[in-house]
């Protein structure tokens, strides 16, 4: 079978410019993209650089963009991406500095990992094996499956505009320790994660969930930590006010009160923020539109508000 592969090339020793190079290579029907790239390197172009090791989706070395989205190429078959022999575009991961061709600099990734103190913190030195319940470990297994391939970071829409954001991989790792019953520092961890560059900067775009080859679902862990931070009393954030206002609006009206949400999330004491909102409001008004003073309500609104009331109380009791 012929695989047509377009590779984004970059060699700073020759030029700062990147360019695409097309390859055509004969591979077996069940070949992975990694098999094809290795074959290209061995048979056609020894200058092509890529990183790989285990070839069995365990080591996390070969993450790269396949048709615009990060994948482990050892786990991705040519046939799956190109059933009719279409060109496959291969690029290095996004949100990483490229060293050469498909090889990215991982320093920023490791420093973010280190920043969340990825180890169990206890006030004492255990004398024997420090055992956690099976139940808690089963829960954490999902996050512990992370092989640190960087695919989630590659596609993170928040890191794309703000490289200081802690990011999905390190935040998922932080959750692994926040939710570990042996760890004694969950509160201070959550306090730190509640600050700028932490859990509230996630856009909830689901890109990390979509590309993770191990179903770690980083975004879901981030959202869970928002909730845990609130439970620990970290409530002085616009993120907290936003969630609360949204929830109240549905409890009261069954639908979203956009005007109130904007005001309350901004914070009623945040004068410059409020002026900013007013500007947009006036502009909208001049175009003949503005959110209604009272939100649009569902028919039989009380049925919705009573469900919200009931389940809100149920949620509180469970806590």
């Amino acid at each position: 079978m012929e695989a047509l592969i377009k590779v984004k090339r970059y060699n700073p020793e020759e030029s700062e410019e990147t360019y695409f190079q097309d390859y055509s290579i004969n591979v077996a029907e069940d070949s992975t993209i990694l098999d094809s790239l290795i074959k290209i390197r061995e048979e056609q172009d020894g200058t092509l650089s890529l990183r790989c090791s285990c070839r069995a989706s365990i080591c996390g070395s070969c993450s790269m963009r396949v048709n615009g989205s990060a994948k482990l190429v050892c786990k991705t078959r040519v046939k799956e991406i190109s059933p009719d022999g279409e060109f496959i575009t291969i690029e290095p991961m996004g949100n990483f500095k490229v060293i050469k061709d498909l090889v990215t600099e991982m320093d920023s990734f490791w420093s973010k990992m280190k920043s969340v103190d990825p180890y169990v913190k206890t006030s004492f030195e255990p004398e024997a094996e420090h055992i956690a319940s099976n139940e808690s470990m089963t829960h954490l297994l999902g996050v512990m499956n992370c092989i640190m391939c960087g695919a989630c970071v590659s596609e993170c829409t928040a890191m794309e505009v703000d490289p200081t954001f802690t990011g999905p991989a390190a935040l998922a790792k932080a959750y692994r320790f926040v939710a570990d019953p042996r760890d004694e520092e969950a509160n201070s961890r959550l306090g730190k994660l509640n600050e700028n560059t932490g859990v509230w900067d996630c856009t909830r775009c689901l890109a990390c969930v979509e590309v993770c080859p191990k179903d770690v679902a980083p975004m879901e862990r981030i959202v869970k930590m928002r909730d845990l931070a609130i439970e620990e009393g970290y409530t002085n954030t616009s993120g907290y006010r936003h969630t609360e206002s949204f929830n109240d609006s549905i409890k009261k009206h069954g639908r979203l009160d956009e005007t109130r949400l904007a005001l309350e999330s901004t914070g009623l004491l945040n004068i410059s923020g409020l002026i900013d909102l007013a500007k947009i409001g006036i502009k909208s008004l001049m175009r003949g539109k503005l959110p209604p003073i009272l939100p649009h309500r569902p028919k039989d609104m009380k049925k919705v508000t009573s469900i919200a009331e009931r389940l809100d109380n149920q949620g509180k009791e469970e806590e």
Partner: protein, 296 residues
């Protein structure tokens, strides 16, 4: 062709022109709509952060209301579509959870069996109407125009809940619809990225960087306007474009942002002003002029 209509809070609030243009367009498309008047807000993923079950109950309730009406649901908001699809996906794959939610719904004499189909207008155009019949309804050839698609995260991810395997065209649906009008679909990286709206009130600096990047990149790649099936993306990309472009040194706010039904309506030959194209905060005056020159 009849659907249970779920317009969403924004079409009923900050973006009334979306509601109006939808109504004008469905009329021409031969789609009959019956609004699910009792439906609540989907929670947009925000409510779910605080109380996943409450979010799921409210969305399954909407699915049950449609089931009672005997109709599939039509949405006009990527976020609504995504959040309802996610809830639907969770319950149809977990009978115990569905039973638990049905217990809540029983208090209102409602029951969901798991059969309601939920579709965004964008998918209906491709899957229920079809490109060729759609093109027959177009009266104006928009060739020469270049429109940047902007999907909205929840209409693209997660692909399993959105049925992308069964309907792979959904991944490119907006590109296909734009091209069906004769226009070119702008090729730029940002079309499936985040518009920044979810963090607008939390981290405005980052949110506006996203607006500036996507609108600026689309413009640099030749776009005359951007088209989105998501009114939340619209709020940010239109409402905050001026501030975002200025703050991030990406020039002036010069990229009109259109709702999907406004594009379809214009291709049908409906009056841009009637469709509310002049209601946006980024000026659309020159754009409307160029559309009108096509009519003449």
């Amino acid at each position: 062709m009849k659907f249970a209509f779920y317009p969403g809070c924004v079409a009923r609030g900050a973006a009334p022109e979306l509601y109006k243009s939808t109504m004008m367009v469905v009329d021409k498309l031969g789609i009959e709509l019956e609004e699910i008047e009792k439906a609540a807000c989907t929670g947009a993923g925000v409510l779910q952060e605080k109380n996943q079950k409450l979010g799921d109950v409210l969305n399954v309730r909407t699915l049950a209301l449609a089931e009672q009406m005997g109709l599939p649901i039509m949405t006009i908001c990527s976020t609504c579509q995504g959040v309802i699809s996610q809830a639907n996906h969770r319950v149809v794959n977990d009978q115990d959870y569905l039973d638990e939610i049905n217990e809540e719904l029983a208090k209102e004499d409602l029951h969901y069996s798991g059969k309601t189909e939920v579709k965004h207008l964008l998918w209906i155009l491709l899957e229920d109407i079809g490109v060729e019949p759609l093109q027959k309804m177009f009266n104006i050839d928009l060739s020469g125009f270049n429109f940047a698609p902007f999907y909205g995260c929840y209409l693209i991810r997660p692909s399993d809940a959105l049925g992308m395997t069964k309907n792979p065209k959904r991944k490119h649906s907006l590109d296909i619809v734009i091209e069906s009008t004769g226009a070119k679909s702008t090729d730029y990286e940002g079309k499936t990225r985040c518009c920044g709206f979810p963090i607008l009130l939390i981290n405005q600096k980052n949110s506006l960087k996203m607006v500036a990047k996507h609108t600026g990149d689309a413009k640099d790649n030749g776009a005359d306007a951007m088209v989105t099936p998501c009114p939340l993306c619209h709020l940010n990309l239109d409402g905050y474009q001026a501030k975002a472009r200025k703050q991030n040194k990406r020039g002036k706010a010069d990229l009109p942002i259109l709702h999907l039904p406004q594009l379809i309506g214009m291709a049908m030959g409906l009056d841009p002003k009637e469709l509310g194209v002049n209601k946006h905060l980024v000026s659309t005056a020159n754009f409307i002029k160029s559309i009108k020159s096509k009519v003449a």
